[in-house]
Symmetry: C2
Subunit: 506 residues, 2 copies
């Protein structure tokens, strides 16, 4: 049996057990001790090194907890297969990187990973139709750098202090006038809460208004990140079908009667994942429906700006909200860049105290530096300049991908023509499963999201849809990717037929 020798305990190098742990760890990593080797018995080590047995026990325990060794009952402690540990770590890293690539929908890829048994490899040369996050190449780095510098020169230390609890005052004022001119939304600086992205907006609203056992209605299918928030507050989440012109009003009325929900979570523009938009009539109906009830509506407006029809100005639900029922969340991620971690919440004044408190207990305040920089960014007209640019980029991709997807329609599929946003919702030809297609595409290094994971309620989930995002794919990738996608669909169709052919007729 190998022995643990030549350890020099240092006085100032921490507790003995920790020094011993590190020493043995090194012996394992150096392969002095190899996989399957038995560590010497505790008493022996203690007497050899003249330390207490507790020290050795602690060191061994720590080695075990960090997966360097494993204990066999009644036999002893053995060196584990570190490679296995390293592989585990590696797979964790991969899972992480795949999650962050689609991080605005953290649950999307996590959900896929779950569905497919936890193994998901995004290879570097993959074509990624799963990510709804714009490519870094389009981030307005130079403009943002300019405003950052200006803020630091102008404000010095103040840029790193605390701003007002609901956000930097000048930014809130700028947002108020921007909301008025660009969105016809009437607001006050007093009911704008700056948030660290849309996800935090949903989280704060849930924290402020949702108690365990409360019901929350959501569109079905919907953004899984919102569902996760409501569930984490102990809410019961019920899905209401979404139709081409908005939420199913009949079902909504019924569910309101049955469940008496506190909140309704909506994305009226280019809904995620369906890309459906509410008609103005439906917006009016929705507001009327809740006006005398103790129900609030969350309008998650993450891309009403990305509207390709130039003449048509999208009316937000909030702009029509004469009853003070809408909590309006705006994220800048999809237009600008996700890493800015900034957005805002416009809420009825009477709800504001609770929102401010929820923000406080969450993280006190959003970065003052970023707020000040974004204020200048807005003021200098950089936002509108960048928005115009991104609309052009996305529009050209949209045109390309829609042209190519005609092929899927020829095969019997149905493609929703959103004319805005950055997602496409595809109904697959009959008999083709979104999950199976996802797997097939993955093998061809094309990443898509099966529609199934967006559904609330197991029995409601439909597996004949997929969501394609064109935020992270250029025209060339779109050409190659959709071509591969079509091949995969065809293969599944043929296989289906052959399955039918070969399967015993009952």
């Amino acid at each position: 049996m190998k022995e643990i020798v030549s350890i020099q305990f240092g006085k100032d190098q921490g507790p003995l057990y920790l020094q011993l742990y590190n020493h043995i760890k090194r012996l394992i990593v150096d392969k002095t001790f190899e996989i399957g080797d038995k560590l010497p018995p505790i008493r022996k080590v203690a007497s050899q090194l003249q330390v207490n047995t507790v020290t050795v026990v602690s060191a061994y325990k720590l080695l075990e907890q960090n997966d360097y060794v494993y204990a066999k009952k009644g036999s002893g402690t053995y060196v584990a297969d570190i490679k296995e540990v390293e592989e585990y770590m590696e797979s964790q890293r991969e899972l992480e990187s795949s999650i962050h690539q689609n991080a605005e929908n953290p649950k999307d890829v996590a959900g896929i990973a779950l569905m497919t048994g936890g193994h998901i490899h995004i290879e570097k040369d993959s074509i990624n139709f799963a990510s709804a996050t714009p490519t870094p190449a389009f981030f307005p780095v130079e403009d943002f750098k300019q405003v950052l510098m200006q803020v630091l020169d102008r404000d010095g230390g103040k840029a790193f202090g605390y701003d007002e609890s609901n956000g930097y005052g000048a930014l809130r004022a700028a947002i108020v006038s921007w909301l008025k001119t660009d969105y016809q939304i009437e607001s006050h600086a007093q009911n704008i809460q700056i948030i660290s992205g849309a996800q935090q907006g949903i989280d704060i609203i849930a924290k402020a208004f949702v108690n365990p056992g409360d019901y929350v209605l959501v569109e079905n299918p919907t953004y899984t990140g919102a569902v996760a928030v409501f569930k984490s507050r102990g809410a019961k989440v019920v899905g209401v079908p979404i139709q081409r012109d908005g939420i199913d009003m009949e079902k909504l009325e019924k569910y309101i009667r049955i469940y008496r929900p506190k909140l309704i979570y909506t994305m009226p523009h280019y809904q995620n994942p369906t890309t459906f938009c509410y008609s103005d009539d439906k917006k009016v109906d929705l507001l009327k429906l809740v006006k005398d009830k103790k129900i609030y509506i969350i309008e998650d407006d993450f891309m009403s700006d990305l509207n390709f029809e130039k003449k048509y100005r999208t009316k937000t639900l909030k702009s029509m909200d004469q009853y003070h029922k809408v909590l309006y969340i705006k994220s800048f991620s999809k237009v600008l860049m996700p890493g800015i971690r900034l957005g805002f919440l416009a809420a009825p004044l009477m709800l504001f105290k609770q929102i401010m408190q929820a923000k406080h207990t969450s993280d006190i305040a959003s970065s003052g530096l970023i707020q000040r920089a974004f204020h200048l960014y807005l003021k200098k007209g950089f936002w509108n300049k960048h928005l115009m640019h991104m609309k052009e980029v996305y529009y050209s991709r949209y045109v390309e991908i829609m042209k190519l997807l005609l092929e899927v329609e020829k095969m019997g599929g149905d493609v929703c023509k959103a004319n805005g946003g950055l997602n496409i919702w595809v109904k697959l030809p009959e008999g083709v499963s979104g999950t199976a297609l996802y797997q097939r595409c993955l093998e061809k290094k094309v990443l898509i999201v099966p529609g199934k994971i967006f559904y609330v309620g197991e029995n409601k989930a439909q597996d004949n849809y997929i969501r394609l995002s064109y935020a992270a794919t250029d025209i060339q990738q779109i050409k190659v990717g959709i071509n591969k996608l079509c091949n995969c669909i065809q293969m599944l169709q043929n296989q289906d037929e052959s399955d039918v052919y070969y399967s015993p007729l009952i």
Copy 2:
């Protein structure tokens, strides 16, 4: 009765009711309609302006909801006292600004405001012993600007993308080696979660592990911002008395038996508000106590770095945590600057998945730009340079304030000699109430925090303590401020005696 005339409805200026609302609002602000004036009846306005009555109703309703008018049942709609509304707004703004001045303890000032009936004015020339936030003048703006620039030049758009879900990899690796050398804490980049400040760390842990009805033990008195988080998750929060050498172990054992808590929230170094430090023995005892139980300990280490005894290296609880029981939260606010909104959480690997998910549903990720900048800041040795500087600054203030507080001890008070941190916990002379002293000091434009608000459980609250912070006061302000404080104590003592003198003897 005045009339609403001369409104020009514009086709592209939004819904009619909104235009009407804005028109009447202007008439009120212009004083065409004055306080108490009755608005003309709805039918009349509708017929005069040739609009639907619903339009007028909606406009009136919106005016009411925004406090421009009020409706008297069966009588009509009257112009409200806007000045009153404006005063309300003004008082809200003041409350806000006072909260943000002490924003790491958002509930502190809010609590004071509550206790004193909601009116709190911090005048510009106040001496602020309530804020535990460093003065902007000491923020290392130039160094931070340098690393920000370097990151933008080096990483371009990548600085604004999403990083790994638990934080920028290079920063986590740097934190691991920093923890090892400076804190004797063994960790892996895999169990470091980057957070947007310590408050978010507490919030994430609560989200991951606390369910409604669970018990959480806290030191008593404690940081009110943590209590607010646990309560917002529906937890039952029980206070365990804190003693000069750490938490009361006897009571802790008993409460663990009775309540079977999920978490224990601790601040082992310069505890807020008492400034007490755990002895090493007590740290060992605490860890032993929970080692075989399903209990985790949060170590909120917001200022173990600010240790004025040069020879003595503070041992964190985490560095002694051989049982993997400690969730270690580190904030950079007190040393560096609050606006950086950055910290980290080092947690046992087996808890990590839940933590990562909780972070995700909270705000997906912390700002990548700030993470990358802080990584360089650490790597270039700026952190240690700045820490040394801040220790000097705080130490000189500490020496000054302790010297002056001898006066309070002469009057019968007791001042805790922390020799570190940036708070001082003062037991007042018998008969002097912290709340009364707070009021007296406020009149003299000296802001302190009455100890009472830090207590959990009404009946446990002690009103003969105050907390003084010297983070936001320079030596000159300390001299003037403590002098005024002593005068106020004396006045209260004298008043007490005279009260006794004049009050009828029973």
